[in-house]
Amino acid sequence: MEFPTALILNAIVAGLLLGGFYAAVSVGISISFGMLDVVNIAHPGFIILGSYIAYIVHERLGVDPILVSIVLSPLFFALGMVIYRIYYLCFERRGQESLRGLAFFFGILFITEVTLVLVFGVDYRLVETSYTSTTLRLGPVDFPLRLVVPFAVSIAMVVGLQIFLARTFFGRAVLAVAQDQLALRLMAIDPVRVKEYAFALSIATAGVAGAFLIVIQPVQPSIGREYIGLVFAVCVLGGMGSIWGTLLGAFILGLAESFTSTFFGPSWAPAVSFGTLLLALAFKPSGLLGR
C-alpha cells in the first residue's frame, strides 16, 4: 500500500483550519469561564443563536453572514450584559453560583435551543456565499475557502482579543479581576462592572463564531450541545484563562478530530473532544499554558 502522504497532509491542513474555527468558538469560554469564573454552559446556545441571526439576515438582505455577525456583535454584547446582570444579582451576590448558577445556564441553553426549534423547526440550515463552494488547490492539498475565510477572521479576532486584553487598561482590569477582586476594589475599580463588560465581550465572540459555524456546516438548533464539550475541552486543555492556550488547545483538538474523521470515520469525532476533555480534567487540570 502506498503511504498516504496526501491524505495526511490534507488531514493536517483541515485540522489546522478547523482548529482556527474552534479557537473562535472557545475564546468566549476562556474569558467567561477561565477568567471570570462564570460557568457559562449556555455559550454554545449563543453560538447557534448567532448562526441563525446570520442566516436570517443573509436570506433577507443577501449580506455576507460573517459581515452581519460583526456588525451585529453589539447586540450580543448587550445580551451578555443583561445575562451577567441577572446572574450577578441572583447568584454571585448570594454566593450560590456553583450549583444554582450552573443550573441557570443549563436552563438558558435549553431555552435558546427549544425556542429556535419552535421558530425554525429542526431542519438543517445552510448559507451559500460566493466563496462557500470554491476550493483552492496547492499540489495535492485542498484549501476549501469555506474553512479558510472563517479561519482567517477567527485568528484575527483571537489575536486581536489577546492584544486588547494585554495592552489596554480595560483588558488589564479583566486580567486583574481574574486574579484578585479585592485588590481591584482597593484601586477604586468596580469588579462587577469589569466582569459585566468582559462577559458581554465573551457573548459577542459567540455571535461571531456562530456566523463562522453556519458558513462551515449546516446548522440545526440542537447541534449546540456537541460544542459544550469542545469549548470546555479547549479551555481546560490550553489552560484556564490563557488566550494563547486557547489557540493551542483549539489546534490540538482540530487536528485530533480531523485525524479521527479521516482514519476512523466522522461518527467517532465527538468522542475525541469529550474524551480529551475527560483526560485533560483527570490528569492535567491546570492545562498546557495554565497560569
Binding site: R100, F110, T115, L118, R225, V236, A271
Partner: protein, 314 residues
C-alpha cells in the same frame, strides 16, 4: 416514622395503585402515568448525588441510557425475562456510577459537572458505533405475546414495574437521608474539607452515593426499550432527561426525599398536559423556563418556600 414503617407504607400504596390500574381502560393514561413515575425515579436518584452530596451530575441521560441499552443487549443475546433485565441494568449503571464516584477524587464543583456531561457524550458515541445493539439506526424490541400475572396488556406490566421502582427509589432515598450516611453526605455538601477533617469518610460516602444514584437512574431506563418498543441512541441519551432530572429536584427542593417527588409529579404532569394540549416542543420550553425561574426566584424550591412560610407564621 421509622424507615421500615415507611417502606411498608410505600409498597402497600404501590400495590394498591397497581391493583387499581386493572380497571383503567385508557392506555394513554397508563403511559402518561408511566412517564411521570419514571421522572420520580430519575429525580429521586439524581438528588442522592446532586442534592444530598452537592455534586451536580449533567450525565443523567447516560445512566438512563445505559440501563436501556443493557435491556436491549440482554433481549438480543439471551431473551432474558423482565426482572433479570431490570436487575442487570441497575447493576451496570451502578458500576458506571462507581466510576463517576472516583471522578470526584480529582474534580470538584463545576469540573465534575462538565466531566459527567463529557462522559455522556463519549458513551453516546460508543453506542452510536456499536452495531450489535442497533447503532445509529436503533433497534426494535419485540414484546412477548402473553402478559404475566393475568394483566390485560403489556403496558400494565410496565406500569406496575415502574410503580414498584418509584416506591423502591423513594424508600432508598429516605433511608439514606435519615441515616448517618445522609448526615455525612450533607457534611460533604456543606464543606468537604471540614467533613474530612472531622473524620467523615468522604470518599467512601461519595462512592456510595454516586453508585446508588447511578444505579437507580439506570433502573428507570431498563424498561424504556419495552415501553417504546423501539430504541435509538438519541432517544435514550436525550438531553431532556438530564434537564428534567436536574429541574425537578431544584423545583421541589433538594434537601429531602420529598422535594424531587413533588417536583417530578408537578413538572411531569404539567409536561404531559402541555404535550397533549399544545405540543411536545413547548413542554420542553416550559421545563427550561421553570428551571430558570425557580433557580433565580425560589432557590430552595417548593419545600424551601413552604418552610419559610411556616417560619413566618410561627
Amino acid at each position: 416514622m421509622r424507615n421500615r414503617t415507611f417502606a411498608v407504607i410505600a409498597f402497600a400504596v404501590a400495590i394498591a395503585v397497581i391493583a387499581a390500574s386493572r380497571w383503567v381502560a385508557n392506555d394513554y393514561f397508563l403511559s402518561a402515568a408511566y412517564t411521570v413515575l419514571q421522572f420520580i425515579v430519575l429525580a429521586t436518584a439524581w438528588n442522592i448525588l446532586g442534592g444530598y452530596t452537592g455534586y451536580v451530575n449533567f450525565g443523567s441521560a447516560a445512566f438512563f441510557a445505559v440501563g436501556a441499552y443493557s435491556t436491549v443487549f440482554l433481549q438480543k443475546a439471551l431473551h432474558a425475562p423482565l426482572p433479570v433485565m431490570i436487575v442487570a441494568g441497575t447493576l451496570v449503571a451502578g458500576l458506571l456510577g462507581l466510576a463517576v464516584g472516583y471522578l470526584t477524587l480529582r474534580m470538584r464543583g463545576v469540573f465534575f459537572a462538565i466531566a459527567t456531561l463529557a462522559m455522556a457524550v463519549v458513551l453516546y458515541t460508543f453506542v452510536v458505533n456499536w452495531d450489535y445493539v442497533g447503532g445509529a439506526r436503533g433497534a426494535y424490541i419485540i414484546l412477548p405475546r402473553e402478559v404475566p400475572f393475568g394483566l390485560p396488556r403489556y403496558i400494565h406490566l410496565l406500569y406496575a414495574a415502574m410503580v414498584l421502582m418509584a416506591a423502591f427509589a423513594l424508600v432508598i432515598a429516605r433511608a439514606i437521608q435519615t441515616s448517618v450516611i445522609g448526615r455525612g453526605l450533607a457534611a460533604i455538601r456543606d464543606d468537604e474539607m471540614a467533613a474530612e477533617c472531622s473524620g467523615v469518610p468522604t470518599l467512601r460516602l461519595k462512592l456510595l452515593s454516586a453508585t446508588v444514584s447511578g444505579a437507580l437512574m439506570g433502573m428507570a431506563g431498563t424498561t424504556l426499550p419495552l415501553y417504546l418498543s423501539y430504541i435509538e441512541p438519541s432517544a435514550a441519551f436525550n438531553l431532556s432527561y438530564a434537564v428534567n432530572s436536574i429541574a425537578m429536584p431544584l423545583i421541589g427542593g433538594m434537601t429531602s426525599w420529598l422535594g424531587p417527588l413533588i417536583g417530578a409529579v408537578l413538572l411531569g404532569t404539567v409536561q404531559q398536559v402541555v404535550q397533549v394540549t399544545v405540543s411536545s416542543a413547548w413542554n420542553l420550553l416550559i421545563v427550561g423556563v421553570l428551571l430558570v425561574a425557580f433557580v433565580t426566584l425560589a432557590p430552595n424550591g417548593i419545600i424551601g418556600w413552604i418552610d419559610a412560610w411556616r417560619r413566618r407564621r410561627a
